[in-house]
């Protein structure tokens, strides 16, 4: 029963990771950029919404203002850094976003100091439903999971139905050809960056509600998000949900063995999935599993 409980908690936690990973996946899908500052942007969102709430605004107002501000930040980021990086080659976006991550973390530290913070949401943080003596489902994790589902579903609908979404998919396929048929690739990139950073901000807000954060919390969030994206398959939104759940379950089940093992188990599951995938690919390509262990290209 205790294991079942851990698995349920892990699935719900997976919703948070999927939400966190959505922006990373979208940016990679549309622009082929892996944004190494993604986790730090989520933490910026957490701090921003925390700060607004601290000024006396309600959670709803803080969230709304904060997310609009994050979308604008995405636009600025795209215009000032990513657009130039994209033009400069495949490695440059990695270099600039990693540099940006360092800048963001330390600016946050400079502004907010070393204190660990969390968003005060009153009873929502503790309320829940007791299913049996050993299974307890919190309202907040369920809320986050539902929001993640809605976000992924909405984004999927947007990409398949909305004109801008279609333009986004066209640009992702081939920006030059998309421009030939009248798509404004630059505008599409701006929209993708705005959506990606805003979803990162939303994930950051949930991070602040369900746990604690500080100025240097970003890299860990980036790694979890990345693991979810890769397990689910790059560019696939529902795959991201599956990947998030895999990481979430691995962490909660690992924590049941030993709290110290929680994060490590998540990483190990990720590495195991990658290993299996590589062996499978090599075995398929060469016909036989022994070939998979060789280093020939």
């Amino acid at each position: 029963m205790i294991w079942l409980n851990q698995i349920i908690q892990g699935v719900l936690l997976g919703g948070y990771y999927a939400l966190l990973a959505t922006g990373l996946s979208l940016m990679f899908g549309v622009m082929r950029i892996i944004n190494l500052a993604h986790g730090d942007l989520a933490v910026v969102g957490a701090f921003l919404i925390w700060w607004l709430h601290d000024r006396g605004h309600s959670i709803a107002v803080s969230l709304a203002v904060g997310l609009v501000a994050m979308a604008l930040l995405g636009v600025v980021l795209q215009r000032a850094v990513l657009e130039r990086s994209l033009r400069a080659g495949v490695l440059v976006p990695l270099l600039t976003t990693f540099g940006l991550a360092i800048v963001i973390e330390n600016l946050l530290f400079q502004k907010f100091g070393a204190d660990i913070r969390s968003l005060d949401i009153g009873n929502l943080a503790f309320d829940g439903w007791k299913i049996t003596n050993e299974i307890y489902v919190g309202r907040l994790p369920v809320l986050i999971f539902v929001v993640a589902l809605a976000m992924l579903g909405g984004l999927q609908l947007f990409l398949s139905r909305a004109p801008l979404g279609r333009a986004m998919r066209a640009t992702a396929q081939d920006p030059d050809t998309a421009e030939l048929v009248g798509v404004n690739a630059r505008g599409v990139y701006l929209a993708a960056a705005a959506i990606a950073v805003a979803t990162a901000g939303l994930a950051g807000a949930f991070l602040g509600m369900r746990a604690t954060f500080d100025a240097y919390a970003g890299p860990t969030q980036l790694i979890f998000a990345f693991e979810a994206v890769v397990i689910g398959g790059l560019g696939s939104l529902w795959g991201t949900l599956f990947g998030g759940i895999a990481i979430g379950v691995a962490q909660t089940v690992g924590a049941q063995f030993d709290p110290q093992w929680s994060i490590l188990t998540g990483h190990l599951v990720f590495l195991a999935v990658m290993t299996l995938r590589l062996i499978k690919a090599a075995a398929e390509g060469r016909g036989g599993f022994m070939a998979a262990l060789g280093m020939e290209a």
């Binding site: 990086s85 440059v92 990695l94 940006l100 800048v103 400079q110 790059l234 290209a297």
Partner: protein
């Protein structure tokens, strides 16, 4: 036209001969530093050598093989960890420090199977995950004190003056060896293969470059170098704390040094390391703003001066101090040029 086709492919030029000779003599002269300089100067130089190694390794990975790793702290930490373990198991502490890089290199072999097939950003973050895994595993190891860490007790038995000198020579030897290894690698056939992979992996494979094998050589070399740097750093610090040795900050430093000095040039990272060393010395106490400045500088260089200080200078002046590439010179340009 027919006469104008005569070309000569050069590796060594008078300038590069002079520069390589001067560099070698300089390394020899630096080995005499313990006889001339005081304790603090030796400590400073040791620190500088660690930076040079790290910058050269990261440059070999990213600048030449196109492998941007944000997890090189994995091998830096593993080098230090290996030195502690070897020493605790009875090996002479300096032998342990010298071998630590090789242990890191050995660990990089199985790691490579997992990460080297990934490209670009996937490789970058996968390395970060790998670094986190090693970090968390070392944190669980109670024999080195877990999260709190431990000190390299065996070093305390040496007289401080001797210890400082030995550490200095260890650092100098490690730097000279790693620079020589990168130099030879770049001059070899593999050097050209690496750059072909960096520029277009698919195209390189199609002309017969063995992509994975080439990447493997650079990857293992960089792991050995970063491991050796970690061991030397440990010898200077005396204490091993996993959180500081496995910190991603080390990769941030490598990025800064390489980008400022010149990604994809041999000399650039060395210059970048010297600049970083001076900046660290002057502004290291400023704490957070200093780190903001480092990150911002790296971003600006990547966007505005992607060849770094040295690469830009090289392009302008057309000189190559160390002959890691090829120069094609037209010989008889009869009637075409005055």
């Amino acid at each position: 036209m027919s006469a104008a086709q005569a070309i000569k492919v050069e590796r060594w030029t008078p300038v590069s001969l002079l520069a390589t000779g001067t560099g070698t003599v300089l390394l020899g002269a630096l080995s005499l530093a313990p006889l001339l300089f005081g304790a603090s100067a030796l400590d400073k130089l040791t620190e500088l050598y660690v930076y040079v190694i790290l910058a050269a390794m990261w440059n070999a990975l990213a600048g030449y093989a196109g492998l941007v790793s944000v997890g090189q702290q994995a091998f830096f930490g593993l080098g230090a960890y290996a030195a502690v373990q070897l020493s605790n198991h009875g090996l002479n502490v300096y032998l342990a420090l010298a071998l630590a890089g090789l242990v890191a290199g050995a660990i990089s072999l199985p790691t490579s199977l997992l990460v080297l097939r990934l490209r670009g950003g996937e490789f970058a973050i996968a390395m970060w995950v790998v670094a986190e895994v090693f970090h968390l595993l070392v944190n669980l190891d109670h024999s080195v004190g877990g999260v709190t860490g431990t000190s390299l007790i065996a070093l305390g038995r040496y007289d401080p003056t001797d210890r400082r000198r030995y550490t200095y020579w260890l650092a100098l030897a490690a730097m000279a060896l790693m620079l020589a290894a990168v130099f030879l690698l770049l001059r070899s056939r593999l050097g050209a293969s690496m750059q072909a992979i960096r520029d277009d992996e698919g195209a390189a494979a199609s002309v017969g470059v063995r992509v994975l094998r080439t990447k493997l050589v650079v990857f293992v070399l960089a792991a050995i170098g970063c491991g050796a740097a970690g061991a030397v750093w440990l010898a200077g610090q005396l204490t091993f704390q996993p959180n500081s040795f496995f910190s991603v900050q080390w990769t941030a430093y490598m990025l800064f040094m390489t980008l400022v000095g010149g990604l994809g040039t041999f000399e650039g990272p060395i210059i970048g390391a010297v600049i970083f060393f001076v900046v660290q010395d002057q502004f290291g106490q400023q704490g957070v703003w200093y780190l903001v400045g480092l990150g911002l500088t790296a971003v600006l260089f990547a966007l505005l001066l992607p060849r770094g200080l040295w690469g830009t200078l090289e392009d302008r002046l057309g000189v190559r101090l160390l002959p890691v590439g090829y120069r094609v010179r037209r010989l008889a340009t009869v009637g075409r040029e005055s």
